[in-house]
């Protein structure tokens, strides 16, 4: 009997891989156009699906407000009534065409973002223009907003992670800084319609705006944008005018324990330090360090505190996406009885990164993971648009992306240890546990 020859598969040997260093990463460029009123349109024409996204980004975040909560209220209520349409009419219009019009209010900017099928964009842009020029903020809508926002806040305040998120920002930036302040029920109660209309007039109707459009763009998209927005009172952000950068006054006391719910079974742990913004040369280097430390599933914090000890469902560290000043934050929810050992392990991992060099395999893994993520992230017009949005709003350009890729590919263990020695010192961190 003959033995059948079959190539045996050796499953213990991993297939060869192409290394991250060899991937060429190119951020597809935007085309820039100016409307008649000077407002710049950044257009990213990509993809093979007849759908698009348009974002109107105003310098109208809470850094500009003089009364707490006004920026968010204006942004939220932009689509709740014009002199011609009720909130219901507006919602129905967008929904009838299967479109989403989302609003987001951040610290420096506030935006309106439309997602729709290309075939309907002509019906939708005129109504967006109407919202930017003719929102009336009906008293009744404001009253509903105030009441419902307070009720939502009441529920959120029962969640330890929500409370921890508010407090750690206040420690990092100070409770009066736009990044550190948070709203109480009374702040909602004090919102007046006049506050909203004045803010709207200044920061939206006649505000500084950029338009980002992405997708498989219809040939006439620019003329449609010109027709609907080129004649409005909005303008481009003035060159050379800096965004507000109020003084940052971090808390003096570093350690905080808060009992929010005496019956809570977990603690929300936040360990955080202030960190420079994206213009600082260390920013992208520390991003690589952070990948090794707690930036993804294969990181040290996750491997140790979840996969080895089982203290938590998940633990991550990250650099906050703030324009004026960032922060390095470690965040996890852990069983009440294991909070103390979990925190001790976080500091141990900092110690290790300061003391020992990261070995080549681990660094290669973090590097390749980061490159793979960027590659996946450059896939499709909306991902590319969100990368450009971050670059543009931070006052950077395409070189920032290229520099980031170079840093990931070339940074070595010594440089990472130097970063750890500079930025991963336990004494520099705020430590908060909310149960």
């Amino acid at each position: 009997m003959s033995v059948q020859t079959k190539s045996l598969l050796d499953r213990t040997v991993p297939p060869p891989i192409k290394d991250a260093i060899e991937f060429e990463l190119i951020l597809p460029p935007y085309q820039r156009h100016a409307l008649s009123n000077g407002v710049e349109v950044y257009a990213i024409d990509l993809g093979n699906v007849d759908a698009l996204m348009v974002s109107w980004i105003f310098n109208a975040g809470n850094s500009f407000e003089t009364k707490k909560g006004v920026a968010a209220a204006v942004n939220s209520l932009l689509k709740n009534g014009t002199s011609k349409r009720s909130a219901f009419d507006i919602n129905e219009h967008f929904e009838y065409y299967g479109a989403w019009l989302n609003r987001h209010s951040q610290h420096e900017t506030a935006d309106l973002t439309l997602h729709c099928l290309n075939k309907h964009v002509g019906e939708l842009l005129p109504v967006v223009a109407e919202l930017i020029t003719d929102s009336v903020f009906p008293q009744e809508e404001l009253d509903i907003y105030k009441k419902n926002a307070q009720q939502r806040l009441q529920v959120s305040l029962k969640k330890s992670d929500f409370v921890a998120g508010r407090l750690i920002d206040a420690y990092l930036y100070g409770p009066d800084h736009p990044y550190g302040q948070y709203l109480e029920a009374t702040d909602y109660q004090e919102l007046q319609r006049e506050d909203l209309t004045a803010y709207y007039q200044r920061y939206f109707r006649e505000g500084a705006c950029r338009i980002l459009v992405a997708g498989k763009l219809p040939a006439d998209i620019l003329s449609q944008l010109e027709a609907n927005f080129g004649g409005l009172a909005i303008h481009a952000p003035e060159k050379g005018t800096a965004l507000p950068a109020p003084a940052i006054i971090p808390a003096v006391q570093k350690k905080h324990e808060v009992v929010n719910d005496p019956n809570g079974v977990q603690g929300s742990i936040r360990i955080a330090r202030n960190f420079p913004n994206r213009h600082h040369p260390d920013f992208q280097r520390v991003q690589v360090l952070n990948n090794v430390f707690g930036g993804f599933f294969g990181s040290r914090l996750m491997a140790n505190i979840r996969e080895e000890k089982g203290y938590t469902y998940g633990i991550y560290s990250y650099l906050v996406n703030n324009i004026q000043e960032s922060a390095l934050v470690i965040s996890t929810e852990a069983g009440k009885e294991v909070c103390a050992p979990a925190i001790a392990e976080v500091y141990k991992e900092m110690d290790l990164l300061r003391e020992e060099l990261i070995d080549e395999e681990e660094l290669q893994m973090a590097r390749n993971f980061a490159i793979g993520t960027i590659l996946g992230d450059l896939d499709g017009p909306f991902h590319v648009a969100s990368r450009w949005k971050s670059i543009l709003l931070n006052g950077l350009d395409g070189r920032y992306f290229e520099e980031g890729v170079r840093t990931i590919k070339n940074i070595g263990p010594e440089e990472l240890r130097e970063m750890a020695r500079k930025y991963l010192r336990p004494e520099d961190f705020f430590e908060l546990v909310v149960v």
Partner: protein
Amino acid sequence: MIKYDRFELANGLRVLVHEDASTPMVVVNVLYDVGARDEDPKKTGFAHLFEHLMFGGSINIEDFETPLQLAGGENNAYTTNDFTNYYIQLPAENIETAFWLESDRMLSLAFSEKSLEVQRKVVMEEFKEHYINKPYGDVWFKLRELVYQHHPYRWMTIGSALSHIEDAKLEDVKNFFFKYYRPANAILVVAGKVTSAQARELAEKWFGDIPSGTKYNRQLPQEPQQREARKLVVKALVPLDALYKAYPMAARTEPGYYVADLLTEVLGGGGSSRLHQSLIKEKKLFSQIECYHTGSNDPGLVVIEGKLIKGVSMEEADQAVEEELAKLKAAPISEKELAKVKNKTESAIVFEDMSVMNRANSLAIYELLGDVDMMNTELQKYQAVTAEEMLVASRQIFDPLNSNTLYYYSEK
């Protein structure tokens, strides 16, 4: 139109390939035909715990994550009541790493005691984080038990009690693996920058020699038609009273599924939906109200849930919801409203299908449902729904004898 190629390996593994040369990435998605509904009522939460153990090393590969990350890949998994799904996305050049990893853990796990011990703790923390340490976190435990008296949708994927997870044994893990995690019960989808020929060759090479296993024939106790209004009252330390109403609906592959889906859009899809407009804006009884369905493979639920404005009584709020349902049951919805919910559905499908990962995932699920071509026929099924069908379905679904109402009171 999403194109795909479908074939089966000799061991019964079903393979779907979707080519998209416009992306530099590939997605390798493996779906196993086992979910929380297949669990022993005394060992609930096991399918999900098991999903965690799939990352704890396989027979020839000690560490799943490191080689994948070296290849620039990322991955995750999720467990539902119906199935368990694993996916990897990585640069197309490194596709074989995904085949190597996924095939080895289909061949056999390492069955490490240490991994079981740690993941038991991790899952218990997950349980606490999402269901104990959150206001209203226990609602779905109660609601499922109220509605499903026989069918295993009675429990959540996380399990019905922490003790079930605590008691999981390595023996259970082995039995579960060899019963369900076999090629005969799995679907492999390869999507992105890959050719069908390449995917076939790799599938044969890496999965071809895995023993087929026995095809699992699901025989679950079915839930009889509900014929009584059920009601449950709960008090808890939450800030606001909340109202939940759940109504059994059609299974995923029945025509009634599409009708029910559109009905939830009419009632709760967005700012112009009926419940939002009437109960938040006009009557000001709720600060938040939603209508959605669970979308499960076996008959699921249409759910209405809302938080009451302070001072509004539960009875008044419930009555107002009933009035909206009565209007829906009294007359067909207008052509405009019907066009709106269909347009919304069309958009949702287009946007969802923009991502290769979603396309891969959907192909696996439709194959599981028995007809992968549903990927391309779903929209037509929604388009074909008439106002008259919606009227009839609303009367069946929102029949008081088909209702399950939970009054969730804020304890003073």
